[in-house]
């Protein structure tokens, strides 16, 4: 292959690599039982994929299945199925989507049946619902569960007590449970090798994320970002495939920077970057492209996002370290975004707004996720106070289409972007009007409109 590949060819290459990786993984899953492969279900935040890989165990991530079901327009039916079975309309729609998918035959994103778990690895990091989710699945599958309780980082730093607690569980509970399922002992060298591979991929992912500091940003760090984090957040961290993918992706992105090109969008390449945004909160998956277009068609690029950090805060310096494997795995689990106290999350958002020179920030508050959502209205106020950058607030859901009001959300986003435009014209030094207390102020966007 020529060394002077074009950006689009390079992009195709990384996309194709990811597509092949996913297809291979689900192919392996579909044939797991006949091939004698053991399957472990686990979660994205705080997953210990390197351990699973070192023991030749195949991971399944129910959150990823749920979001894929949302994107494939399957989630409404699955959620209805779960609610019919008695699950409350008030609770997380990822859980209900997963339960509904299970009750509908457990057909995965690629159209093949997912194998039942041999073990549920409950990586309990940053989300209370995870615990209930796997209690529910335990009843459905009647299989063993191993809990990895990851303490919450209230103060914004990891204490030795927290780390020791996690490593003790890894050593005493998690690794033996995985070894029992795998039918063999953990090869510590294989684990170390995988952690080295993780660190390589993480290095390249950070370069991809930080490329958005350029103007124009060559990537969208939220809508595009969720594709970029897919492999490292899910089944592929610690694999040669992931290293290859992130190297290709980084090359592609760096080429876009050299060529001064904007990010790809559902409608092709963005030609003019008008607004640079930071987004807090997960995206809506049922209308993902519609949601993306609400930004991209207005020339708004999301230069950084917190959702893409739920699987690890690599841009704050963390790398898997093969020299201290269990401590490093513990630090990884402890450091995921939703495992951080609200003040730390606020600091991080402030940093993104400044580092990426954002014109505004937007909070997508999803009904399903209290871990993300509780406190976001206060974060909105505090961030505006600290940065002087205006914030917008919209509400939707992860995979329940009943909570995606397209017209309402689009109106709010347009109002928000119009306000940013007015600020640009009027000079951004004007202070933001104070947000009032005493009433619910969700549609806050109009408050910031400059005359």
């Amino acid at each position: 292959m020529s060394e002077t590949v074009t950006a689009s060819e390079s992009k195709d290459r990384s996309q194709q690599t990811q597509k092949r990786m996913i297809a291979d993984h689900f192919e392996q899953l579909s044939r797991a039982k006949e091939n004698g492969k053991k399957v472990v279900y686990t979660f994205v935040p705080g997953n210990v994929t390197e351990l699973l890989g070192a023991l030749d165990l195949l991971p399944v991530l129910p959150e990823i299945n749920a979001l894929q079901s949302g994107m494939r327009k399957k989630s409404a039916g699955y959620i209805a199925e779960a609610e019919k079975a008695g699950h409350s309309e008030d609770v997380c729609t990822y859980v209900k989507c997963d339960v509904g998918m299970l009750k509908s035959g457990n057909i995965g994103p690629t159209g093949t049946k997912l194998p039942p778990p041999d073990l549920l690895l409950l990586s309990y990091t940053g989300c209370f619902t995870f615990m209930k989710w796997f209690e529910i699945l335990k009843q459905e599958y009647n299989c063993p569960v191993v809990m990895l309780h990851v303490p919450y980082q209230t103060e914004g730093h990891i204490t030795p007590e927290m780390r020791d607690y996690v490593t003790a569980q890894l050593e005493r509970d998690v690794i033996p449970a995985l070894e029992k399922v795998a039918g063999k002992k953990l090869d510590r060298d294989a684990l170390a090798h995988r952690m080295q591979l993780s660190a390589q991929a993480e290095e390249d992912l950070v370069a991809v994320w930080e490329s958005a500091r350029h103007r124009p940003a060559p990537i969208d760090g939220y809508f595009g970002g969720v594709y970029y984090v897919g492999p490292i957040f899910s089944s592929f961290r610690g694999s040669e495939d992931a290293v290859r993918y992130y190297r290709e992706l980084r090359e592609e992105v760096e080429q876009r920077v050299r060529e001064g090109r904007g990010p790809m969008t559902p409608d092709g390449e963005m030609k003019e970057e008008k607004y640079r945004l930071v987004v807090e909160g997960p995206p809506n998956w049922t209308s993902f492209n519609d949601f993306w277009r609400m930004f991209s068609r207005e020339g708004a690029t999301v230069v950084s996002s917190t959702y893409t950090r739920v699987g690890g805060l690599y841009d704050r310096g963390f790398r898997h370290d093969y020299r201290r494997p269990l401590d490093s795995l513990a630090d990884y689990c402890l450091g995921c975004y939703t495992n951080l106290g609200l003040p730390t999350r606020l600091d991080l958002l402030e940093r993104y707004i400044r580092d990426y020179q954002a014109d505004g920030f937007l909070i997508n508050s999803v009904k399903s996720c209290n871990s993300f959502s509780v406190g976001q209205l206060l974060m909105l106020r505090k961030l505006e106070e600290r940065t002087g950058v205006p914030g917008g607030f919209i509400e939707s859901d992860l995979v329940d289409p009943r909570y995606f009001g397209k017209a309402n959300i689009e109106n709010r986003i347009q109002s928000f972007l119009q306000m940013l435009e007015a600020r640009k014209r009027g000079g951004s030094s004007q202070p933001l009007p104070a947000r009032t207390e005493g009433k619910r102020v969700l549609p806050v966007i109009k408050e910031g409109v400059m005359p």
Partner: protein
């Protein structure tokens, strides 16, 4: 004849309804330098706080007694009610008497509320209490001991006494006396529910949230003695266990509405924190009382939705309670948008169905004012159980 239990009940009710926490203020006046430390549901290690000279103060939101004006502006519509009324109380100055608040690990809402507290009230001590979900003594138990040590150390830096094992030992003894009194109250309620109604037991237990342990024990014992003297007659109600209300508390009137609908609530989880440790906290010879407190949580912590089930069977603990109480049915009463209760409920309901235990369910909010629908539902449930022995 005057009801001899009326006076302690009215005193307790008045203390509970006092949003300004004047009982706590008086305690602080009587204990110069003493810290009043609030804690959200479900469970906080109250003996630890008492041992370091603090008054633990259970915070259960504003109930139906306050208008939410500012609190709502901090929470989306799909968040439960207790954080908004708690913030309302704090912003209104009603919690000014507190020197700090603990936010135990129960759910993401209470956890994040702790983070909000730190931002809203930066001068007030606020911390998360990460209760272990690993129940091995040298892993989860060790972590919990360190967690309690951290809290004691941080409070000492704010004026509390240093943690002294002897003081903790004494606090645990007092806690055990309280637990014994509550257990006696529960036993009487189960044996003669017409003598102690659920709403009354709730009042008498809940008032302990703002009292020193020894004082609360006296209140429970006083009420218990008075209740035994009551001229009460058996009523042919249906015996039920109510679960799901362990955090946000239902309005008093809701509990009374259930009682009027023909249900004797012979067990519930309204004030689960006070009963979280099932039985006395035992301190082995030569054992560090902090380790004993941790061990009690690991080994005797009640099965509830926010506690990992491990290898236990979902619903088995509730079935045991139903059997022990000779209950004829279960009422699932979860607060709206309560993740722990509502995620748990289908699993436990399935266990009840499998065991042939009649059950019904509804949701509530602490500030709801209309109970007729729930009363009718509970009435239909009790009639069905009474007539046919099954309802669901």
């Amino acid at each position: 004849m005057t009801d001899p239990a009326l006076a302690p009940l009215e005193r307790a009710q008045a203390i509970i309804e006092d949003r300004k926490l004047s009982t706590v203020a008086r305690w602080k006046e009587a204990h110069p330098g003493g810290l009043a430390i609030g804690h959200m549901p479900i469970y906080a290690p109250r003996p630890l706080l008492e041992a370091i000279g603090c008054l633990p103060v259970g915070v259960f939101g504003g109930g139906d007694a306050i208008d939410i004006i500012r609190g709502d502006s901090y929470f989306q519509s799909y968040i439960c009610h207790i954080p908004r009324s708690t913030v309302e109380l704090a912003l209104s100055g009603d919690l000014d008497v507190l020197d700090g608040v603990l936010f135990p690990s129960i759910c993401d809402v209470i956890r994040n509320l702790g983070g909000m507290w730190r931002m809203l009230f930066p001068d007030t001590y606020a911390t998360y209490v990460d209760l272990p979900q690993n129940f091995e003594a040298d892993i989860g138990g060790k972590f919990y001991v360190l967690e309690m040590t951290r809290i004691a150390r941080e409070l000492q830096a704010r004026g509390a006494k240093a943690l002294d094992p002897a003081a903790l030992r004494e606090a645990i003894v007092r806690e055990n006396e309280r637990r014994a009194a509550i257990a006696d109250l529960d036993a009487l309620r189960r044996k003669e529910p017409w003598r102690v109604k659920a709403s009354e037991a709730y009042t008498i237990v809940r008032v302990g949230a703002v009292l020193e342990t020894a004082e609360h024990t006296r209140v429970v014992r006083e009420f218990l003695a008075a209740a035994k003297e009551r001229a009460a007659r058996p009523i042919d109600n249906v015996r039920v266990v109510l679960v799901g209300s362990f955090c946000e508390q239902p309005p008093f009137e809701l509990i009374r509405a259930l009682e009027k609908s023909g249900c004797d609530i012979v067990d519930d989880d309204f004030q689960l924190g006070m009963r979280m440790i099932d039985g006395p906290i035992e301190i082995a010879d030569g054992e560090d009382p902090l380790v004993a407190l941790s061990r009690a949580y690991l080994e005797k912590g009640q099965d509830t939705a926010s506690r990992y089930i491990g290898d236990l069977v979902k619903g088995a603990a509730l079935l045991r309670r139903v059997k022990e109480c000779q209950a004829e049915g279960v009422i699932f009463a979860a607060a709206s948008f309560c993740d722990p209760a509502l995620l748990d409920q289908p699993m436990v309901e399935a266990a009840m169905t499998k065991a042939g235990v009649p059950h019904t369910s509804f949701k509530f909010a602490e500030n709801m004012g209309q109970f007729s629908v729930i009363r009718e539902q509970a009435g239909a449930f009790s009639d069905a159980v009474k007539l046919w022995g099954a309802a669901s």
